[in-house]
Structures are given as structure tokens and as C-alpha cells.
């Protein structure tokens, strides 16, 4: 079997702060193949963004990758020299960020910001060629009159258009892997739909692998092939998107799905998961979810291992919901 585009094995990324060590990503493993979309789902602080930054090699001190391997096309990115990592970044692996209002430099024109992305990886390419690539990329993500828009500054674009520019920039060098960190969270629902549609189409066409980081289950449902649910730095459930969303086995996934307002009967109080996301500094021993879990028993003070309760499904729980009715 050929190498998948990306295989992450037992990744540990920790922040060494004065108050102690925070394991933001704690033994995460997954893989994404060509043209596939992986949804990385979790609440704020579950470690999903840090996972993305770890793959990009952009974890800033005091954060550091403490263990595991990140195999990109068979090559381990952990410990790769900065210059080699830089050559991959934006060229083979691209990233799109959450807030389109902040990701573009306010004082540089769009063409400057796009052309430099081309030239950083292809110094031999002339300005004209780089500019025409930028123009094509803008057209590709559905920006009208791209030639004229190249000369604009970021503040002359709406949020949705800026995110399109950011996506176009990520696409410039035809990467093999795109990490999208909640790129549609800050956008209107209609714009979000358009962008999801465009991105999905692009991945199918070009065979680009995509990791879509989000807390929005409805986005994942329509976009992803596989899904990883993260809680407190660990993946708690993993499987194909339809399976996991239709028949969640981990109590946390189950709780998340039940919290989506539309799933609740009208007129009833909205359901929620009791308690709060624990601070990484004071995680309960054993299963991090046990204090909020209605199925927890004495056994849960041990750390549960990943198990495969059914084909194509992995779950980290002593008491998975194996025979429940769908949510």
C-alpha cells in the first residue's frame, strides 16, 4: 500500500510553562489519503489547532513537539531542519486560518502577498508569471475580476472575500495537503456553504488531502470522509463520518451530537454536556471526560486505551455505547 499523504503517529505536543507542562496534544494518531477529507472535531482547547500547527512546524515556544512522528509522504517532519520545513510550508503543505480579518497583512497589497508566496518556493519564476498564477488562483476560488482585485488592499475586501483570498494563497503552489483551521467559523452561513463547496470540489479535482479543523459538526457532516473527535488533547473517537455521526460510541461524541439544537425536540430545554471543559493544567486522572460522563465507573480512573469496537471504528472508552439507538 502506498504511503498516505499524511500519517500522524502518537504525536505529543506540550507547552512548558511556568505553571507546569500542558500536553495540548497527547498521543494523537490519524492518517489522511490523497483527495480525502479528515474532520478534526472538538471544543475550544481540545488540541485540534495545536495538532494543525504541529504538522506545519509552527508551534511557538514554550510549545514543543515532545514525541511521535508526522510522516508526510513517508518523510518524518518532526525534527526536520527549519530550512527544509520552510520549503514544505506553503508549497506542499498549506494552512488556512480561522479569522480572515487577521490573516492578511493590512499594509501589503494582495498581489504582493500572493506573489511572494509563489516566489518563496520558485525563485526562478518571474513577477509576471507569479502574478498570472495569483490571478488564476483568485479566479479559481470565485473572486470576480481577479486582475483588478490583485491591486487591492485587504481592507477593501469583505470577510468572505478575504477568506477566499487566503484559500487562493494556500492553493497557489498546488499543495498535497491543506490544513484548514476553522476557516468558515467567522463567516455567514451562506458564504460558509459556498466556500465548503469550492474547497470540496478542489480537493476532488486535484487529489489534495484536507484536514478540516472545526467545532461545527454540521460542517464536518457535509464535507469530511473521516472524523476524529478530540477531547483534552486526545482523540476519543475515530471513524468514517457517517458511522460516527449516526452511531456515536463515545459518550462525549454522543453528548456533542445531542447538544446540536436542531436535534432537540422543540419546546424542551436544550440539552448540554454537564460541567466544563477541564483545564489542561488540572486534568482528572484517567479518562479526562469521566467527571462529566454519566456512564463513568470506578474503572475510569485508569486511562482507557484505544479499542476497535467495530470495523473501521476506534474509540477510547471503557463503556462505549455499542447498542444504543441513534441520537
Amino acid at each position: 500500500m502506498p504511503d498516505p499523504t499524511l500519517r500522524v503517529e502518537n504525536l505529543v505536543t506540550a507547552f512548558h510553562t511556568r505553571n507546569g507542562t500542558l500536553r495540548a496534544v497527547d498521543g494523537v494518531s490519524f492518517e489522511v489519503g490523497r483527495g480525502k477529507v479528515l474532520g478534526l472535531v472538538g471544543e475550544s482547547g481540545s488540541g485540534k489547532s495545536v495538532t494543525g500547527f504541529s504538522i506545519m512546524g509552527l508551534v511557538d515556544p514554550p510549545g514543543r513537539i515532545d514525541g511521535g512522528r508526522i510522516l508526510f509522504q513517508g518523510r518524518d517532519l518532526v525534527g526536520l531542519p527549519e530550512e527544509e520545513m520552510r520549503a514544505l510550508r506553503g508549497s506542499r503543505i498549506a494552512m488556512i486560518f480561522q479569522d480572515p480579518m487577521m490573516t492578511l497583512n493590512p499594509v501589503l497589497r494582495i498581489d504582493t502577498q500572493m506573489i511572494e508566496a509563489v516566489k518563496a518556493h520558485h525563485p526562478a519564476i518571474g513577477d509576471d508569471e507569479a502574478r498570472s498564477r495569483a490571478r488564476d488562483a483568485l479566479a479559481q476560488v470565485g473572486i470576480p475580476s481577479p486582475e483588478a482585485r490583485l491591486k487591492a488592499y485587504p481592507h477593501q475586501f469583505s470577510g468572505g472575500m478575504r477568506q477566499r483570498v487566503a484559500i487562493a494563497t494556500a492553493l497557489l503552489n498546488k499543495p498535497d495537503l491543506i490544513i484548514a483551521d476553522e476557516p468558515t467559523t467567522a463567516l455567514d452561513v451562506t458564504i460558509q456553504g459556498q466556500i465548503l463547496f469550492e474547497v470540496q470540489k478542489l480537493c476532488r479535482q486535484t487529489g489534495t488531502a484536507l484536514i478540516w479543523i472545526t467545532h461545527d459538526l454540521s460542517v464536518v457532516a457535509s464535507l469530511a470522509d473521516e472524523i476524529c473527535v478530540m477531547y483534552a488533547g486526545k482523540i476519543v473517537e475515530q471513524g468514517s463520518v457517517d458511522d460516527v455521526l449516526d452511531r456515536p460510541t463515545h459518550p462525549y461524541t454522543h453528548g456533542l451530537l445531542r447538544s446540536v439544537p436542531s436535534a432537540n425536540p422543540r419546546g424542551q430545554p436544550l440539552r448540554q454536556i454537564p460541567g466544563m471543559t477541564p483545564s489542561l493544567l488540572s486534568l482528572p486522572s484517567g479518562c479526562a471526560f469521566r467527571l462529566r460522563c454519566e456512564r463513568a465507573t470506578g474503572e475510569c480512573v485508569q486511562v482507557p486505551e484505544m479499542t476497535a469496537p467495530m470495523a473501521g471504528r476506534r474509540v477510547r472508552c471503557f463503556h462505549p455505547l455499542l447498542s444504543t439507538v441513534p441520537v
Binding site: 514544505l88 510550508r89 499594509v107 518563496a120
Partner: protein
């Protein structure tokens, strides 16, 4: 843009009128210049004649109107002491002060920005900590003391540089300045560094703060995610953003450099406006004081205008308002 400039010029005229009135009344309140100017053993007739010659026998409001009448024709009155037009007197001294301020500004920017940016880029390194400690000294040591120390070390003990006066002047593009001759440069170096020290610390700290603030921005992370080199991220992306606050402050500080180079000019016997104004205040030489302040305020206004225009070039989000003020 044109409307913006015209409105600014009108504001300037009002500011100048109000300020001249304040100074007029202020200097009148301080004391009687004739007590200093007319020799004590002259008799009353002589004294009256001198007072009449200076126009000081008239009521203050009449003197002020007379001054305004002259000012509109470009005549700011004659110095009581030197008996020559005050404006001409100032213009003679202006180039020396301007070149000192300019040299100090260049030193402050050329040294301050890179030092500050480095300190912001590597805040934990010993070099950065040394830079920041140095900038605290630059802030807190009194200018005159540093000036005296510099004279003692570089002029007296080491004998490398001259300690007083302005050196040989040369002419470039029709401007007479000491910045184009070696001797002139040697003379300007010590006072310029002395004058620059405070501004250098300020620029350094601003650049450092800007650097640290901007490095945390998403656009920096996005630029790095594009695979740009750290060099390009810092020198293009961050630098252009740091420049915006720096230009504002530099503009304000340039005005300060010109107006308040008094201390440095006194320590180094630099023949500039600062020394002139101190002498004039001592002699209650009102026309010179008023003319000096008018020139200084005009310069401030002009610099601020230049800053506003530069701002709109640097930051595309700023457009000089045509419609509303």
C-alpha cells in the same frame, strides 16, 4: 487632499494668532526690557527716548495690533538687542539647529529601529536585555550631564573630537551645511549623539513593542505558513506595520528636537536657535521670542502635516478625509 491641506493651513493661522497674543501678554507680564536694555545711569529723557524708539510707550493692545500689521507683511519686528529684524536673526541660526536635529534624528532612527527590532525579535537573549537596559539609561540620564561626560571623554581625555562650535561648512544643492565637510561632521557628531540619545531610546522601545505585538498577529503566522523566510516576514511584513506608529512619534519628536535642542546647544556652544532663545529670554527681547515661537509652531504644523500625508501612504486604510474633519 487639497481641501485637507487648505483646512490645515487655516487652523494654523488661528493657532499662530492665539499663540502670539499669549506670548505678547506673557513677556509683558515678566518684566520691563528697558530695565535691562537702557544703561542704569542714563537720565529720564534718554530713557523715554529709548522706550519710544522701541515702541514700548504705547498701550499693549496697540503694540500687539502694530505687531500684527507688521506680521502680515512678513515683518516680525526688530530685535531690541541686536537691532536687526528678528526673523532674519532666527533664519541665520536656523540652519545650524536644523542640521543638528536632522543628524540626531538620523542617528536615532538608524540605530534605534534595528536595535529595537532585534530586542523584540529575541526578547530573551542577553543582547536584547542589554539593549533594553541601555535604553532605560538613555531615558533617564540628564542630557546636559551626558553631554558634559562626552566632552570630557571624547574631547578632553581622548582628544578625538572637537567639543565646541560648528565646524567648517560646505554647500550642497545650494544649502550651506556642515554635514558635507569632514571637519563639520567631526563637530556635529558629539552634539548630535547627545541630542539623539533620548530619541534613540524612545525609537528603540517603540520598535521593540511593535515587533513583539506584531509577531503575535495571525498575519505573521500566515506569512510563515506560506513558507516565507523569517527574514522576509520580519523585514517586510512586520517592518511595514511597525513603521506606522514610528512615523507618528518621529514626526512629533522631530519638532521637539528642533525646539528643545536648547540644552545640547548650550553645552556644546552650538550656534543655533536654542542658544538664541535662551539669550533672548534673559534679555526680554520680545520680538525675537515671539518670532522664534512663530517659526517653531509653524515647523511643528508643517511636520505634522507631512506625517499625516506619510501616514496615508504607509497605511492604505488611512485616507485623508476630504469631506469631514
Amino acid at each position: 487632499m487639497t481641501v485637507f491641506i487648505i483646512r490645515r493651513l487655516m487652523q494654523t493661522a488661528v493657532v499662530l494668532a492665539v499663540m502670539s497674543l499669549l506670548v505678547f501678554v506673557g513677556v509683558f507680564a515678566i518684566g520691563d526690557p528697558t530695565a535691562i536694555l537702557v544703561s542704569p545711569d542714563s537720565d529720564q529723557i534718554e530713557r523715554d527716548r529709548a522706550i519710544a524708539a522701541l515702541g514700548l510707550d504705547k498701550p499693549l493692545w496697540e503694540q500687539y495690533l502694530y505687531f500684527l500689521y507688521g506680521a502680515f507683511r512678513g515683518d516680525l519686528g526688530k530685535s531690541f538687542v541686536f537691532n536687526m529684524p528678528a526673523l532674519q536673526l532666527i533664519m541665520q541660526r536656523l540652519p545650524a539647529t536644523l542640521e543638528l536635529a536632522f543628524a540626531a534624528l538620523v542617528i536615532a532612527l538608524v540605530a534605534g529601529i534595528p536595535l529595537g527590532m532585534y530586542a523584540g525579535y529575541r526578547p530573551e537573549s542577553p543582547v536584547s536585555k542589554t539593549i533594553m537596559a541601555g535604553s532605560i539609561l538613555g531615558f533617564s540620564l540628564p542630557t546636559f550631564w551626558v553631554g558634559l561626560m562626552m566632552i570630557m571623554v571624547f574631547a578632553v581625555q581622548l582628544g578625538w573630537l572637537p567639543s565646541t562650535g560648528r565646524g567648517q561648512v560646505g554647500t550642497i544643492f545650494g544649502i550651506t551645511t556642515s554635514l558635507v565637510t569632514l571637519d563639520g561632521l567631526a563637530h556635529v557628531l558629539l552634539p548630535a549623539v547627545n541630542l539623539a540619545l533620548l530619541k534613540l531610546s524612545l525609537v528603540c522601545r517603540l520598535a521593540r513593542a511593535g515587533m513583539r505585538e506584531n509577531l503575535l498577529m495571525d498575519y505573521v503566522k500566515f506569512a510563515r505558513a506560506k513558507g516565507l523566510s523569517a527574514r522576509r516576514v520580519v523585514l517586510v511584513h512586520v517592518f511595514k506595520n511597525i513603521l506606522i506608529p514610528l512615523v507618528t512619534v518621529t514626526g512629533l519628536e522631530l519638532g521637539n528636537l528642533i525646539a528643545f535642542s536648547v540644552v545640547t546647544e548650550t553645552v556644546f556652544a552650538w550656534p543655533g536657535m536654542g542658544k538664541l532663545i535662551i539669550d533672548s529670554i534673559n534679555n526680554l527681547d520680545r520680538p525675537v521670542i515671539v518670532a522664534y515661537l512663530l517659526v517653531t509652531v509653524s515647523m511643528f504644523v508643517f511636520i505634522n502635516l507631512a506625517v499625516d500625508i506619510l501616514y496615508s501612504i504607509l497605511d492604505p486604510r488611512v485616507r485623508l478625509a476630504e469631506a469631514k474633519g
